[in-house]
Subunit: 132 residues, 2 copies
């Protein structure tokens, strides 16, 4: 079966290099939700060597910093799960006190209709923050 | 209000140093669930300097490796959320195809009564794997 993260994953490309891609994805209620996707088809962080792990996390931190600068969220959530698609990827999720699930994880039952923290030009603003 | 992670967090201590603690916690249905808890009261990875981030993740990876060796899970889940307790900590969770939520995140609605992957001596086995 083809792995959906081995091809061209859906989302707005914010950065790519020979090891990974950073995408702004379209998750309902969660503008600013980014994924950092390793190009190689490996499942776990401990399947990578130390240099590759450091490179991947460096980009997770860059995305976290860009999201904090651009969106001023209440909290950043980081997660590498991969139970459905066991191809290494990180979710980097800006959370707000009035989003649909806060303070629960976004995978829990919603608590309310979430406020909309999206805005035009978000991808461009994140790209600029990542480049800064 | 006192932060519950600034004191002596509940759980079986597997490792500690001057920067962090590794605890095996008692989460129903999830034997092997570990937390790596930073000692300082900071909220986000990007609140730490690069050396501290690397030290924290080094222990997350050590715990992941120990869990893989000892428990042979289908997948490792890593998450730093902190929406309820904004004091930096990582969940390191061994997942099995017959656990209560797989392949959903453990915070989603359960799919079944989960199988029990616990066993006597788990803490000792994890300590030995961490020391190896």
């Amino acid at each position: 079966m083809a792995c959906e993260l081995c091809g061209e994953p859906k989302g707005e490309l914010l950065h790519q290099d020979d090891k990974l891609r950073v995408l702004l994805v379209d998750e309902a209620g969660y503008p600013g939700f980014c994924r950092v996707i390793w190009r190689g088809h490996v499942a776990e962080m401990t399947d990578l060597d130390a240099a590759d792990r450091a490179h991947l996390m460096d980009w997770v931190y860059r995305v976290e910093a860009a999201l904090r600068t651009v969106m001023r969220p209440a909290k950043i959530n980081l997660a590498s799960l991969g139970n459905m698609v066991p191809h290494l990827h990180w979710h980097v999720i800006p959370r707000f006190a009035d989003d649909a699930h806060f303070p629960s994880p976004i995978w829990a039952a919603p608590r309310r209709d979430g406020a909309d923290h999206g805005r035009p030009g978000l991808a461009e603003a994140l790209r600029a923050a990542l480049a800064a």
